[in-house]
């Protein structure tokens, strides 16, 4: 169990042409479950591979506690890793797969046996120990890979999209199991995924990456409710956050967001932050679940709200939720997520209620959040 610290970590490929990881500073606390989240090609896997020692950094440092492990070979780092393809060795039985790391470290035989049984029980795969990986299903192989990773009681557990090859149902089940296992073992865990649901449900904290940069680090709810940029805001949440280009105007009743077909008066407390954007364009963001339609459903815990007018364009009935696509003004299409089944007619005029405490305003050029 150890704290992992990345210091200005960099990895360039092709003589610096491709900046896979471009200067990351991140501290993963002892025993924490940190999720590295980002789209494919954002550098999250490269970051993980550098922590594992499978990739040599171009610059920066990796600390495990007060030990600088930047140039240690993987075997000297006391880590474990679960690979995307499971990487269970096909020429060994499940037992031998799990026992392999211990055998290399020359543990006594009876101790190996005890530990393998313990790890197999945790997953649980005790009844599969004599089998070969080819005789197992994908989910079972995944369990073997996890058992092999925990059997050595690593200081740091690394997981590289371990669930992405499983079917949807199994993925949900494994998600909970891995999280429970990690809580029980209290091992510092770094988990790479592009699946925002995995990130939200599993992580103690989420680190969102894009184009080799670390954009935001924080607990899931914080990253979700207070995204610091357009990228983070739209990457997390389904359906995606609505984005509209609006301008900020000074009117008699205060600052107003003005766009085609909408006018939202802002509370006075935003003035200070928005002062320099008066008469300028900004990006207004609002999540589909932070709006409702008047007379249809109500938003709970909403203290302040504003209304805008729209026309129902399309309805997606998902069973548990209904997603209403509404046209606001010319060309602006926004999605509203409402719980339950909502019988609305296409083409009907509706009043959309916006939760003022959950609106986001982004700078148009830097794409960073202002509010």
């Amino acid at each position: 169990m150890v704290e992992v610290r990345l210091e200005n970590l960099k990895k360039y490929f092709g003589n610096g042409k491709v900046k896979a990881v471009d200067g990351i500073d991140l501290t993963i606390k002892d025993g924490e479950f940190l999720v590295l989240l980002g789209p494919s090609g954002c550098g999250k896997t490269t970051t993980l591979r550098m922590i594992a020692g499978l990739e040599t950094p171009t610059g920066g440092k990796i600390w495990f506690g007060d030990k600088d492990v930047t140039y240690f070979s993987p075997k000297d780092r006391n880590i474990s890793m679960v690979f995307q393809s499971y990487a269970v060795w096909p020429h060994m039985t499940v037992y031998d797969n799990i026992a392999f790391p211990l055998k290399i470290k020359k543990h006594p035989k009876d101790e190996i046996d005890k530990k393998v049984k313990w790890a197999a029980e945790m997953l649980p795969i005790e009844n599969l120990l004599d089998r070969y990986p080819a005789q197992l299903s994908g989910g079972q192989r995944q369990r073997v890979a996890v058992a092999r990773a925990i059997v050595v009681e690593p200081a740091v557990l690394l997981m590289d999209e371990p669930l992405s090859n499983l079917d949807a149902k199994l993925r949900v089940a494994m998600r909970a199991e891995i999280k429970k296992l990690q809580t029980k073992l209290k091992v510092t865990t770094i988990y790479v995924t592009h699946d925002q649901v995995e990130a939200m449900t599993m992580g103690d904290r989420i680190a969102v990456m894009n184009k080799g940069k670390l954009l935001q680090v924080g607990p899931p709810t914080e990253v979700y409710l207070k995204p610091n940029s357009i990228f983070v805001g739209t990457f997390i949440g389904a359906p995606e956050m609505n984005l509209l280009e609006v301008s900020i105007k000074e009117k008699e009743n205060g600052l107003v967001l003005e766009g085609t077909g909408l006018e939202i008066t802002l509370p006075e407390e935003f003035r200070e932050l928005l002062e320099r954007y008066i008469n300028k364009s900004v990006i207004f963001g609002i999540r589909p679940e932070h709006m409702t339609i008047e007379g249809v459903s109500t938003l709970e815990h909403v203290k302040r709200a504003r209304e805008i007018e729209g026309t129902v364009d399309f309805i997606e009935a998902l069973g548990t939720d209904t997603i209403v696509h509404a046209r606001v003004g010319e060309g602006n299409l926004i999605k509203i997520k409402l719980p339950g089944h909502i019988p609305l007619e296409i083409g009907s005029k509706v009043k959309i209620v916006v939760d003022l405490d959950n609106i986001h305003i982004f700078d148009k050029t830097t794409e960073n959040a202002v509010i």
Binding site: Q84, W89, P101
Partner: protein, 277 residues
């Protein structure tokens, strides 16, 4: 023509084609095997298609009196040395080509193949002169070295496709769990590649076994089987050899190739880069 007859006709054409191809390959093999043991009067008899009386006389004479047995022994030694050297050099090269990205990789791959474009007869005289100077002429090691040069490109390409079939993550997992790169090669990659490598070894064996030109020009007293048979057939016995020796010789030559295919066909597919997954 309705759909059904069309379908049947298509099938017929298909099977006729398959039959022709198979017959093309199999008939000479069957004939050589049968005639190798048949009495000459049987295959000179126009009324007979298949021989009915057999003897091991000709095969025996060829093997013992005419020295084919020594040839077999020499061939086996040469083939084993060839396998040893070409694998010692080819496996690391194949591994590098399969697993690493390095500058000039494509050029190297291409030049490996291009090596095989040189017609060996062009190099015959310089090769013999070189061998005389190095005192390698008429030695089994000399033939094995020449065969190594010929089979190495294939060994590199074949082993690289075998190693490419062993996923990188399997090796990386071994490294994470406590092995060095070399250790993970020996404990993980090599065992997984072993069936394919065995097939590649057999392939090299047959290549060396069948090679006649280089073996003929480089040796005199220590001939490999094909070279030995060639000299028996074409002159050492004064003029062309009788047909029954030709058939017996054909049988002896074919045997290892057939045995090889029998054991290796399962892995041959992997060898050509189509990994079975």
């Amino acid at each position: 023509m309705n759909e059904e007859t069309k379908f049947i006709l298509k099938k017929l054409v298909f099977y006729a084609f398959i039959f022709t191809v198979v017959a093309w390959i199999v008939i000479p093999i069957i004939i050589s095997t049968l005639y190798g043991f048949a009495l000459p009067k049987d295959y000179y008899d126009p009324k007979k298609i298949l021989p009915t009386s057999f003897t091991i006389k000709y095969v025996k004479t060829l093997l013992i009196t005419l020295g084919a047995l020594d040839g077999i022994k020499n061939s086996v030694i040469v083939a084993l040395i060839t396998i040893a050297i070409s694998f010692a050099l080819g496996i690391p090269a194949g591994y590098a080509v399969a697993k690493f990205i390095f500058p000039g990789k494509d050029t190297i791959k291409l030049s490996i193949v291009a090596l095989r474009m040189f017609p060996i007869p062009v190099m015959a005289i310089p090769l013999v002169i070189l061998y005389i100077r190095l005192h390698l002429i008429d030695t089994l090691l000399g033939v094995a070295l020449a065969h190594t040069a010929m089979s190495l490109p294939f060994v590199v390409l074949i082993t690289s496709s075998i190693f490419a079939g062993v996923s990188k993550e399997l090796e990386e997992a071994a490294m994470v769990f406590g092995l060095t790169r070399l250790g993970s090669f020996f404990k993980i990659t090599l065992p997984l590649a072993l069936p394919g490598l065995a097939a590649a070894a057999m392939f090299t064996f047959v290549m060396s076994w069948n090679e006649v030109f280089v073996a003929s020009i480089l040796t005199l007293a220590h001939r490999t089987l094909p070279a030995q048979i060639l000299s028996i057939m074409a002159g050492a016995s004064g003029g062309a050899a009788p047909d029954y020796y030709k058939f017996a010789a054909a049988f002896i030559m074919i045997l290892p190739a057939i045995t090889f295919i029998f054991f290796a066909r399962k892995y041959l597919v992997t060898m050509w880069g189509i990994t079975l997954k």
